[in-house]
């Protein structure tokens, strides 16, 4: 018995184009992702949830320990996640100082930092922080779903996280943050 010959059947002509089409589709997908890699930020899933309560040691010598959670005055404020070793945090410093000038209260956690390094950083770039805590093993950072420095969270008067801003705050981002603070009232 001989093997059945394939030539007997007429292949549908469009079938020939399938592999090429698949290749072109694959190529197009790869090209699109290469040119527009998209947003790689990992958004915190903690928006709308309460800020975890933690008692952090002072971020700078001579300051009080920082109790996270609802603010003592019951008003919305910012929580800035930063570090003295973080370069974009320097870029953000003048914007935070401007916000402080506008009367916005800002708390901070210094991630994986030394009090003396934080003191040097604040001495050089200004100190916009009302309260500052030290988070040496990133335990607060992990608990609020923050994936880097700098990040800034809007916390409402009840201590609920309302907004996460990933990366340094540029002057053009200020309006959004101020609006979120007003909405959080």
């Amino acid at each position: 018995m001989s093997a059945p010959s394939e030539t007997g059947r007429t292949a549908k002509p469009w079938v020939l184009w399938v592999p090429l089409t698949l290749f072109v589709l694959f190529f197009a997908m790869a090209a699109v992702k290469l040119v527009w890699p998209g947003n790689t930020n990992i958004d915190s899933q903690m928006i709308g949830k309460p800020l975890p309560r933690m008692l952090l040691p002072p971020g700078v010598a001579g300051r009080a320990p920082f109790q996270t959670g609802a603010a003592p005055d019951g008003k919305p404020r910012l929580l800035n996640v930063f570090a003295s070793w973080c370069i974009p945090c320097i870029a953000e410093a003048p914007v935070l100082m401007e916000m402080k000038r506008q009367g916005i209260k800002i708390d901070a956690v210094a991630i994986r930092d030394r009090p003396e390094d934080v003191a040097t950083f604040l001495g050089r770039w200004g100190d916009p922080y009302e309260r500052i805590g030290s988070d040496v093993d990133a335990s607060l950072q992990l608990a609020i779903g923050s994936s880097g420095v700098p990040e800034t969270f809007v916390i409402d008067g009840k201590g609920v996280i309302r907004l996460q801003h990933i990366g340094d705050i540029r002057p053009e981002d200020m309006a959004d943050i101020v609006k979120a603070l007003e909405d959080a009232r």
Binding site: M1, P4, T40, I42, D43, S44, Q45, M46, A83, W85, C86, I87, P88, I111, R112, D113, R114, D117, V136, D137, A138, S139, Q141, L142, A143, I144, G145, S147, G148, V149
Partner: protein, 136 residues
């Protein structure tokens, strides 16, 4: 010429990685004393994605943040917590992104169904072939 030198110097300057000067957290790079617990922690760490390097598991990454996550995993395992509950805790904070084992949901459904569909299509194709052979 000055410009060229400056350009070369700039190109040669390795980008300064923003890294903390603090020593790594306890248990970031230290194994747990109990080998059974360490194995559990290790298995979980290999399926958690590093948040900064975004292509490595926290077991493989040198990033400070991955070190802190390893420390968190080891401490919680040592305290007797179940690995899946630690994974759940992280997913609650970072979304499905943080786990390498995608959960079955409407969004990830196609991902799970595709291999089964492809295998089915392959079986149908193969069956057609065998039938034809048997006939001739």
């Amino acid at each position: 010429m000055k410009l060229l030198v400056a350009a070369v110097a700039l190109a040669a300057a390795a980008p300064l990685l923003a890294q903390s000067t603090l020593p790594a957290a306890e248990y970031a790079n230290t194994q747990l004393p109990d080998p059974k617990q360490e194995a559990k922690a290790r298995a979980l760490m290999e399926t958690l994605r590093c948040l900064v390097c975004q292509g490595q598991s926290i077991a493989d990454s040198n990033a400070d943040m991955a070190g802190d996550m390893r420390a968190l995993v080891r401490k919680r395992i040592a305290a007797g917590e179940d690995p899946e509950s630690i994974r759940h805790w992280l997913v609650e904070r970072y979304g499905d992104w943080v786990t390498y084992e995608p959960p079955l949901s409407v969004r990830t459904g196609p991902l799970w169904a595709l291999p089964i569909l492809l295998l089915g299509a392959g079986l149908v194709l193969a069956r057609g072939r065998f039938k034809r052979k048997a006939k001739s």
